[in-house]
Amino acid sequence: MKSAVIVFPASNCDRDAKNALDAMTGKAPAMVWHQESELPDVDLVVLPGGFSYGDYLRTGAMAAQSPIMRAVKTHAEKGGAVLGICNGFQVLTESGLLPGALMRNAGLKFVCRNVAMTVQETQSAFTRKYDSGQTVTFPVAHGEGNYYADEETLDRLEGEGRVMFRYQDNPNGSARGIAGILNDKRNVLGLMPHPERMVDPLTGGTDGRAMFESLIETLS
């Protein structure tokens, strides 16, 4: 599997995503600067966490307008896999690649803690190595992770099996406890919790490994 990590100004989990991909695939991902207009030939594009453009205007709003995002959209349209984590999820909703929006946490505070989630769907390139209904624990670290979409969209996401992860103890007020969703073509995943911080038992756990293993198995 060949991968790329997009670097926006003030992305700050770009190196963590790189390290996780390095460790899991044995190959360094391409680090692609947001001003580029083309992607290298890759199977997976990761939009990392962070505070792109300092969260000014709205989280993810300015990064969604970066030159590289046109190439990311084309990649997604062609069926290429895109994984947006935390701020990357916010960029995906802002750029229209995923429905809905991420609002200020219901508690109005930044929240960093390990959260238990249920894996809702295993029919995807991102989750096939998990068991359906399995509980996994990833850390969240965000101020704006409160997922919102209208009822019709939420019903459709649920009905089409596109709610991939659901919080067991909702940390941010997300509608229906949604932690991560898929697009309709099932090749773009956005989630607030951080799988890339969960690939090493020493630093918290290994529940994130199956996501990378799923991608490797599907895309290699």
Binding site: P9, A10, G50, Y53, G54, K109, P139, L202, T203
Partner: protein, 734 residues
């Protein structure tokens, strides 16, 4: 031109004698710009004029110290060509006036101190002191400070991994915000601030200069009164987004060989960075202020030289490398401008609109700055043993203590900090020390901040020494070899002999402990004049310690891990209740002597515990501090969610045994066979050791009689902070 009147001199925080000294050094009267430059460079904050003579006595050398005090931060060798760069710094005065921005820019400033030396910051800590919980300002300040620290650190993508928080009425009018940053660099790629050589371009990088923060350093060198709110405009405004870009751009430039010297613009901005770089390089510097990137129009030379706008750096490049550097900063969309040149004149010269607006010998701003031997008196130590009610039930007191302001869980705070970004945090907030792996190795750094201000009030010498000893003990308790410290000395007005006495004694205490424990001071910061309307804070000499774990897989944590482990107490317990949490929270008294320290025993006990951890004989260790034995046992039980059954107190009087705060002690929990080994080995080494009980169950049980469930303890321990911040009840204080 403005004539310098005695009023103007006073408004600049300079004494008449200091003004005369300026005139003598210049051989003429200064103009207003020069007076401004002197006022910030000679401020307590920049010149350390009250403490410098005493700070010289601190031990600063060891074979592993690569850079001691005097640079932007201290540097230690952690093996394999890796270096750890760290420093702690206060942002007390601004944080009281404007908590969010004060705390945020405190974090930004200390990060720049570390990355200006070539390090990538990998961990942040903070030591916070607030007034009484029910003081009308406290909630507002806690909330603002915590979101300011989080707002800046989270955006930077550097994990905030721990710290400490105290509440005490002496901080009602002067809170303390001390932030510590730890970074990693290669030992052969450390950048210093000495602007050596003449004719080299001086470049300005980062964000534009505005009118914010003018005279921040002077403000930080004076007491507060009821008009302090008027000083709000002297507080800087932070932009972590720009700082993140500045960090990446600086590290990119540092990967080239274009830089001769680099320093961040912190307190006193352009003035102090340029003057200090020239001073350390033994050169001169000439600035053309017309080229300074400006955020506002019609800025005067005075404003540009004294602005404390954030996220700015000054660098001296090798000639001809300007274009290479500029390209990097343009990529990161940051300002870049050549604003001057180094000279061989040994003078600090600034021009504006073609005219020389300041021309001062560099040494007048550094070596010739006043150093005061301020008069000091040593206070009489309070030595009487305090009385206490011997009939109070022990576990009821334990519950009260675990839910008291200084002992309750700080989860409400640290969940607002990203503590796992960079994916190298091995030990998160809540343990004895934070542990952060050196990426790509099996090494890890252990980090802690410590001081017990109530001890320092009772006995400043012991308080200073105990802060060092506790930092050393916390690092030891996770299995790290303590390497070096940074100090952050927070005190009241040094012009009062009794306060100066506290400062001198605390520094002596720090020095004694650092020497005894082989734990040198490599960087530091002083914050004086923490007084409001003449009322000073408790002396608070905060210590930030760093240690190294060679093999992080051996690390110990506080959490009980198995049932049926033997709980072992290491170190002697005489039952010292003076100045203890017990006395304050249960008896409502702040009395007695600080617990005595025996540094030789401290070292012996700690070295023994560390060797047990390193040899895999102990994986569950907790150092003893606030609250004594029983509070520590309860914390271990709560962390592991495993109960414990303990026997009778070893001394005849149970209360001092369970709650006394004797120093140099640790708790270990180990399976029976290992515990036997540990006990035998301790006896061979003449180390005091006692078996206290066994882990298991879901409660803390004492002498098969009294019981309190973990559920109940947890509710008390976790509940206090959220209830305080929700304003649900006015917590009881003394």
């Amino acid at each position: 031109m403005t004539e310098i009147t005695p009023d103007i001199v006073r408004d600049h925080g300079l004494s008449p004698e200091e003004y005369e000294r300026i005139k003598a050094l210049l051989g003429r009267a200064p103009n207003l710009v020069e007076l401004g430059v002197f006022s910030v460079m000679w401020s307590e904050h920049c010149s350390y004029k009250s403490t410098r003579a005493h700070l010289r006595k601190l031990p600063t050398k060891a074979p592993w110290v690569l850079q001691g005090p005097g640079e932007n931060a201290g540097v230690i060798d952690i093996g394999d060509g890796d270096a750890c760069i760290f420093k702690m710094e206060s942002h007390n005065h601004p944080s009281f006036i404007e908590p969010y921005q004060g705390a945020a820019t405190g974090v930004g400033g200390i990060m720049r101190d570390v990355f200006t030396m070539g390090a990538r910051p990998i961990a942040m800590m903070n030591a916070l002191r607030f007034g009484e919980p029910d003081h009308p300002k406290t909630r507002h300040l806690v909330s603002g400070i915590v979101s300011g620290i989080g707002g800046y650190g989270n955006c930077m993508g550097v994990p905030t991994v721990g710290g400490e928080v105290n509440f005490h009425r002496s901080y009602n009018g002067n809170i303390l915000v001390n932030a510590m940053c730890v970074g990693l660099a290669r030992a052969d790629r450390i950048f210093l601030s000495a602007a050596k050589g003449a004719g080299n371009p001086v470049v300005y990088i980062g964000s534009k200069t505005g009118r914010d923060g003018i005279h921040g350093a002077t403000m930080a060198s004076a007491e507060f009164n009821e008009n302090s709110e008027e000083k709000r405009p002297t507080v800087q405004v932070g932009d972590p987004f720009t700082e993140k870009l500045l960090l990446e751009a600086c590290l990119e430039l540092m990967a080239t060989d274009a830089i001769i010297a680099i320093q961040d613009m912190g307190a006193a901005g352009l003035t102090s960075s340029s003057a200090e770089m020239a001073d350390k390089g033994g050169s001169g510097i000439e600035l053309d202020l017309d080229h300074v990137p400006q955020r506002e129009t019609n800025m005067t030379a005075y404003e540009m030289l004294l602005s404390e706008s954030q996220e700015r750096m000054l660098a001296v490049l090798k000639p001809g490398r300007e274009a290479q550097a500029e390209k990097i900063f343009r990529k990161w969309e940051l300002d870049f401008a050549v604003i001057g040149v180094t000279t061989d004149t040994h003078r600090f010269v600034a021009r504006h609109k073609g005219a020389v607006v300041a021309d001062i010998p560099v040494t007048a701003l550094s070596d010739e700055a006043p150093v005061y031997q301020r008069p000091f008196v040593s206070r009489e130590k309070k030595a009487e043993a305090p009385a206490y009610d011997k009939t109070k039930p022990v576990l009821t007191s334990l519950e009260k203590i675990l839910g008291s302001p200084d002992m309750a869980s700080r989860r409400w705070i640290w969940e607002q900090y990203d503590n796992s970004v960079m994916a190298d945090t091995v030990q998160h907030p809540g343990g004895d020390a934070a542990v952060v792996r050196v990426h790509g190795t099996k090494k890890a750094l252990a980090i802690t901040t410590d001081v017990t201000p109530r001890y320092a009030k009772a006995d400043p010498f012991t308080g200073g020494a105990q802060a060092v000893a506790e930092a050393w003990r916390n690092l030891t308790a996770v299995g790290a070899t303590p390497l070096a410290v940074t100090d952050n000395l927070n005190f009241g007005n040094p012009q009062k002999p009794e306060i100066m006495g506290e400062i001198v004694a605390a520094i002596d205490g720090i020095g004694a402990a650092c020497r005894a424990l082989d734990f040198p001071v490599v960087s530091g910061n002083c914050s004086l004049y923490n007084e409001t309307n003449g009322e000073g804070i408790l002396p608070t000499p905060a210590i930030g310690g760093v240690g190294l774990l060679k093999d992080v897989s051996k690390m110990a944590t506080v959490a009980f891990k198995r049932p049926d482990d033997v709980v072992i107490l290491i170190g002697e317990t005489k039952g010292h209740l003076g100045q203890s949490i017990y006395l304050r929270e249960v008896e409502g008294k702040e009395e007695g002597a600080a617990p005595p320290l025996d540094l030789a025993t401290e070292k012996k006990n700690g070295d023994f515990v560390r060797s047990l951890i390193e040899r895999g004989l102990a994986d569950t260790v907790h150092d003893l501090s606030d609250g004594g034995v029983l509070a520590a046992i309860a914390e271990m039980a709560l962390a592991g969610d495993i109960g414990v059954s303990i026997g009778q107190a070893v001394t005849p009087d149970p209360i001092p045994f369970w709650f006394g705060e004797d120093q140099g002690r640790y708790l270990i929990a180990a399976p029976f066979a290992q515990a036997e080994k540990i006990v035998a080995e301790a006896r061979e080494k003449y180390i005091t050791i006692a078996e206290l009980g066994r882990t298991g169950g879901d409660s803390v049980m004492l002498d098969d009689k009294e019981t309190v469930t973990l559920r109940q303890l947890r509710a008390t321990h976790e509940g206090w902070f959220p209830r305080l911040m929700a304003g649900e009840e006015i917590p009881v204080t003394n």
